[in-house]
Symmetry: C2
Subunit: 408 residues, 2 copies
């Protein structure tokens, strides 16, 4: 049983949160604090950008197996800040640990926002103190935390599920994400700026790591707003075990629910992509390997020419094939099928690598399909049994506007 429930990050037992205004941003909430009543088993995926923000460097070095609290600030990424940036992370960690009365090693830290500026530390430390006093659970706390971690996001991204495990116990998985631009995460466990925090009161062990990477690969690692991977991407799973369930590492319901929740949050990120007017879903089928299927999906969802055509509902499907041809994937054009689904219409476009039609009426039908809020592209390569699905968004005037004026 997997049941969607109301609420966000504090919906699972024993988790509390707060979101406050520290003053790094001019007006909005900009500092979030998340805690668990007891130390929680943690699983973290980090950006694979070679330029890593200071908090990413510190967390990767610490490589914690358990955490009890997470401090997140928005408005400043603490990236390209050298040794001073690193020291600031340690100061935040120590300050939060003292405010919460826990070990520093149990505090995680992440930042998101402008790159290349030092943190305004007095504001951050003041924010931590305030957040520590406001920690609580419930819808308001969920909402404040979700808001405090946003940058160019226009809405909060939360989800929660109640799951009955095979042992009969009831557990909760809840999550929150942020991200709107600089989105093309490629998160590696242990080693996205989309940030996501997923918490559960289920019991997990170290052995869950492989499954966590697999789910990340199929969800957050398959979304793209602009093809640019951030210096600060991070995806965190905290499992505090307070449900008293059996170990859920291999529980099919738990895995299915976690996958569902992470896909939902990842989808919300592209749905709120900078300047988005339409979500693009790309599915590649019949590839020779999973890697090929993923590469083909990514090449299509990242192509500016595909993205602008979809923005304009321009039935220029040749661009999809151009992008497929640039993916580095080997295929036989004479076996390729292309279908576009939108506005409730499913339109076959190519069969055996050639247009199914050529008259104006058919082109108008393609345009109608492309006018939907969600445009789904299905490419069948006919070369094998592997498939992949990814999500992206169109490229609009507003994307340009938002990013031409971001830091100013």
């Amino acid at each position: 049983m997997i049941e969607k429930i109301e609420g966000g990050i504090t919906a699972a037992q024993g988790f509390k949160a707060a979101g406050v205004h520290s003053g790094v941003k001019y007006r909005s909430l900009d500092l979030g604090l998340l805690t668990s009543d007891v130390p929680a088993k943690c699983f973290i995926g980090y950006t694979s950008n070679k330029v890593k923000a200071a908090p990413i460097q510190v967390m990767m070095e610490a490589n914690p197996s358990e955490l009890q609290a997470f401090v997140v600030n928005s408005g400043n990424a603490n990236a390209l800040t050298g040794k001073r940036g690193i020291e600031d992370v340690y100061t935040i960690r120590a300050h939060a640990a003292a405010a919460l009365g826990i070990d520093e090693e149990l505090v995680g830290v992440i930042s998101t926002g402008l790159i290349g500026r030092f943190l305004d530390m007095p504001k951050i430390l003041y924010g931590i103190d305030r957040a520590a006093k406001e920690l609580t659970y419930g819808l308001e706390a969920d909402s404040d935390f979700a808001e405090a971690i946003m940058t160019t996001d226009t809405r909060k991204k939360e989800a929660a599920y109640r799951v009955k495990l095979e042992d009969g116990s009831l557990i909760t998985i809840a999550g929150v994400a942020k991200g709107s631009g600089m989105i093309a995460p490629h998160l590696k466990v242990l080693q996205g700026t989309t940030l996501s925090f997923i918490v559960t009161d289920a019991v997990l062990t170290e052995n869950f790591k492989g499954t966590w990477q697999e789910i990340l690969d199929d969800t957050f690692n398959m979304i793209s707003v602009d093809g640019d991977q951030s210096t600060n991407d991070m995806s965190v799973l905290l499992a505090n075990g307070l449900s008293g369930s059996e170990i859920a590492d291999e529980d099919p319901n738990f895995i299915a629910a976690l996958r569902k929740l992470m896909k939902e949050l990842a989808y919300k990120v592209v749905e709120d992509g900078e300047g988005v007017t339409k979500v693009i879903e790309v599915e590649v089928r019949g590839a020779q390997s999973k890697e090929d299927a993923v590469a083909a999906v990514k090449s299509i969802i990242r192509s500016p020419l595909v993205k602008t055509a979809i923005f304009g509902s321009d039935p220029n499907y040749g661009r999809i094939m151009m992008a497929l041809g640039n993916s580095g994937v080997d295929f036989d054009i004479e076996k390729v099928k292309l279908t576009i689904i939108g506005s409730g219409i499913e339109v076959p476009i190519l069969e055996c690598g050639m247009p199914v039609f050529e008259d104006q009426r058919s082109v108008d039908i393609v345009r109608m399909a492309m006018e939907g809020d969600t445009v789904k592209i299905i490419v069948t390569l006919g070369d094998g049994d592997y498939s992949a699905v990814g999500w992206g968004c169109d490229l609009s005037y507003d994307y340009v506007k938002i990013n031409a004026e971001y830091s100013t």
Copy 2:
């Protein structure tokens, strides 16, 4: 001696050209014909997109070592057109050969325009007949040919140089290019939709192939408008030997002039990139290998976030480092230097991976530099002796407009 001269594709001895209106496009010139009085040694670079237009497939299969004529149509790419597309290319070739009284094997064919539609053959064949009658040399013929091969281009791209070889003989190199969108060529000799035709009356042999690939790699293969490689990219060099010079394969003046001309044409393509308001030049120095330097340049010039920041003159230089970090190149952030040059100002931004400054006045100076028509970014990795330079353009509202409405 390398001297820039007036004129385009017919500036070299023995070359003639014409550009006519065949009717594939509504009004403008859309069919170009280029001929040499005698068969010319030919060197061709083709798109490495896996989806190749019909004329690319035919030319790669024919793999000609000599050509005497080239037919180019714009408005329709003859791509995704299957067997019928291939047959159309053979028909064009045979028709042009008959009109010119030469062997079919001596006729090259290429198309550029919309993908996924069959050619309107009666119009194309009519156009060839008309062009064959109008063949001539001089500025008007140059201009007509240059115009006939354009798609979203807003201006013609021509250049010509007179060169004194080491043996004392005078030769001419002349060229024309088109390209505005779907530009990120990766041309392979013998095996990019920017098209370029370079002609010379110098004498070249088969041995020149390696040098030709090297020059392509440093010029056309280092430009990007949108990071999308076309199904139709092609770069052609024809050498008819009519100057009566010695073999110029290794002549330093010849090589320098050819490189200069191809860089000039490639630069003109980005200068006329779709919606361009600024040219971006990226130089990466101190890389461990040439491949690393090239990968780093390409990652920066293709990043939508870098491109929009430059469009808005937004001093958000952190995005340059984000893009560098996504290039797959290994480097030590603590050695990285970043400099931006524009509006006649050179601004050091990062030293040892950290901002050189942080006050508002300095940020204003970065903005001033970014307000230039050309913004040059220099990244020094400090890890080795290799460097590369590439050219791209900003991402503006007009880029979105042009591409959201292309086919309609």
